[in-house]
């Protein structure tokens, strides 16, 4: 295909480099922007630099205290509350999706129950999110669940359930049924087999599923926009409100918040990296 190995390799590395640059530029931009003072946010002064000329903690100070030296507008709502809201709803939503999804996936994988259920679980995802979320908003408002932590957690759990279900089902399908039969013959109850044998065997998969679902919930904008008003606004919605009539979009503050928002997924990811890298190698079946 390619003339020679060096040519092939240089093309290869060029493409890899391109991919890395495309992924890294926004991250680096956000990282530096977070420390730029107001005049450096845009080209308003006539120039734009990669690194902050006068690095400052001002953006962080501003979103947490509502004021800082070089910004005239005071912020009426600070970031602590949205961060808390995001943490609570994303964690609870993930817990709901993963627990229900895992149990459901196990049942479907092992007992061939549910007929078309596995597919119909996907139906929330078959339509454009907005088309589904408007009726949900009406329903939630009828039930008094708009702008509550439980209302938002519940819908997060419901919306990400299909992902958790399908991921876990594929993993359960790969656990040889003989392993469970062996445990049954050894004297285990059905539940004990699930808890002591099957679940530990898919724990790497379970960890990956948790991370995946958590990121989905953590980064949601649309649902939180529709289902929160004031008290339980999450980070992405709050971030959008970081604008003023005078200063326009407050890029530096948004970047500072974005940097903080990246911490939980990154920490979570590093914590379970062992499982992510190891992947799924069940050594039980050697044919």
């Amino acid at each position: 295909m390619f003339g020679s190995r060096p040519v092939y390799n240089s093309v290869r590395y060029l493409l890899i480099l391109l991919a890395v640059v495309i992924v890294l530029i926004p991250t680096v931009w956000m990282g530096t922007m977070a420390f730029k003072p107001f005049p450096e946010w845009t080209t308003a002064t006539g120039e734009l630099s990669w690194l902050p000329k006068n690095p400052t903690w001002g953006n962080f100070e501003y979103i947490f205290t509502g004021q800082t030296a070089d910004l005239l507008v005071t912020l009426d709502r600070t970031a602590e509350r949205p961060i808390l809201a995001s943490l609570i709803t994303a964690v609870l939503g993930t817990a709901i999706a993963v627990i229900v999804g895992t149990l459901g996936a196990y049942a479907v994988s092992r007992f061939r129950v549910g007929n078309n259920l596995p597919l119909s679980v996907l139906q929330l995802r078959l339509f454009p999110p907005l088309a589904v979320m408007i009726p949900v908003m009406i329903m939630w408002s009828f039930l008094g669940m708009v702008d509550t932590w439980w209302g938002l957690s519940l819908i997060y759990g419901i919306v990400t359930l299909p992902f958790a279900f399908w991921l876990m089902k594929t993993f359960f399908d790969e656990v040889p049924v003989e392993i469970e039969e062996a445990a049954l013959v050894e004297g285990c109850s059905r539940f004990r087999v699930f808890w002591k044998v099957t679940l530990p065997m898919v724990k790497a998969a379970l960890a990956s599923t948790c991370l995946f679902v958590f990121i989905l919930n953590w980064s949601d904008y649309l649902i939180a926009l529709l289902l929160t008003r004031k008290d339980w606004v999450t980070i992405p919605v709050y971030m959008n409100s970081l604008a003023s009539a005078m200063g326009g979009q407050m890029y530096g503050c948004k970047a500072a918040l974005g940097l903080i928002a990246a911490i939980p997924p990154v920490v979570f990811g590093i914590a379970i990296q062992k499982y992510l890298v190891r992947g799924l190698t069940f050594g039980a079946l050697k044919q």
Partner: protein, 367 residues
């Protein structure tokens, strides 16, 4: 300790009948092999004994006690799977201790028995290993140890040796025999390998397509096959089966093999006795490869054949011959002097021939 009685046991999966009205009595402390080709229903039978599958019909009795409604955990059986079913997320120690921990034995007792089993299985230096790191041979030792450690009354083994390498398989065969002597269990052993069945079992149950073909001691199954299936399945190379028809030659009963020749029954009383029970003229003649003789002289009474291939397999030479379009095999001593293309006479062994009904395949004249 326990005997197992299967009483008109059937299992159907939709339209497929996996096991068809199986009748089997496995006496206490005996080693019984369920032998048959893939898909003959032997594993399904095992699963029903263990309680993993529910029979469609029929009953399973342990010591005359119907265990139909007992879950697998309360049947006091050990099960070794073909693919080991080792808990790979646990260490060897945890695997061996699994059944004892489920039974909530005291910690010191568990430790004592795990170490005892480990030394029996020669796994002492592997106890702390994560079982995912073990070799195939070691995995199977752990699987056997894990099932044997709870000392179940009934020990079920589903093709436990078929994934192992040849040398280790031979070693495990003797180990299993020792194990059974030590623990005095009733053992049911599923295999498709007739050599394994012959060497290990007290009795062999030959199955095909869900139906029991024959149940008897290895010698019985080998020497007196009840039908052409068993005759063909037991022995390697398998028994030569030749279609023939019953005729009379100058008033003497004979078997006609068409152009290949004719076999007079005047001098073989055993074969003659079998011949007399025939209901129809079309028959199948059977003789073991190791019993047949090859001669190059013409005057011998025999069947004409041509050597097509000579296969030296260590201690023996297997001679392939074409006999009127059918291939037969004859096993001779090693370095048997014969050339490909030789035209020879094949002489069936007197007193060691079998005769089957061509239509039903059933053996004729069995006691």
């Amino acid at each position: 300790m326990a005997s197992i009685r299967l009483s008109s046991l059937s299992k159907r999966f939709g339209q497929v009948t996996a096991v068809d009205r199986l009748e089997l009595l496995i006496p206490d402390k005996e080693f019984v092999a369920l032998l048959g080709p893939s898909g003959c229903g032997k594993t399904t039978t095992m699963n029903m004994i263990a309680g993993i599958e529910r029979p469609t019909e029929g009953r399973i009795l342990f010591d005359d006690r119907d265990i139909q409604n007992l879950p697998p955990s309360r049947r006091d059986v050990g099960f070794v799977f073909q693919n080991y079913a080792i808990f790979t997320h646990m260490t060897v120690y945890e695997n061996l201790a699994f059944g004892l921990r489920v039974r909530k034995l005291p910690r010191t007792e568990i430790d004592r028995r795990v170490r005892e089993m480990a030394s029996l299985m020669r796994l002492d230096n592997r106890l702390d290993w994560l079982s995912a790191k073990l070799s195939v041979n070691e995995l199977q030792k752990v699987a056997i140890g894990r099932s044997a450690i709870t000392e179940p009354a009934i020990f079920l083994l589903d093709e436990p040796l078929s994934n192992l390498d040849a040398a280790f398989r031979a070693f495990m065969r003797t180990e299993l025999k020792h194990l059974q002597h030590q623990f005095q269990q009733t053992m049911v052993y599923v295999t498709h390998d007739q050599i394994e069945a012959m060497s290990l079992a007290d009795r062999i149950a030959v199955m095909n397509l869900g139906v029991l073909q024959q149940y008897g001691s290895p010698a019985e199954v080998y020497n007196q096959p009840r039908n052409t299936f068993v005759a063909n399945f037991m022995g390697s190379p398998s028994m030569n089966l030749l279609p023939c028809s019953a005729v009379e030659n100058n008033g003497v009963p004979a078997l006609s093999f068409g152009e290949v020749g004719m076999l007079s029954l005047a001098q073989d009383d055993a074969l003659l006795r079998r011949f007399r029970t025939a209901q129809a003229p079309s028959l199948v003649f059977g003789a073991r490869p190791e019993d047949m003789e090859i001669t190059t002289s013409d005057n011998d009474a025999g069947l004409a054949a041509t050597v097509t291939f000579v296969e030296p397999i260590g201690p023996r030479t297997v001679v392939h011959l074409d006999m009127g379009g059918k291939t037969i095999k004859i096993a001779k001593e090693k370095r048997f002097p014969i050339g490909i293309g030789s035209r020879v006479n094949v002489v069936p062994p007197r007193g060691k021939c079998h005769l089957f009904d061509a239509e039903s395949g059933a053996a004729l004249g069995l006691e």
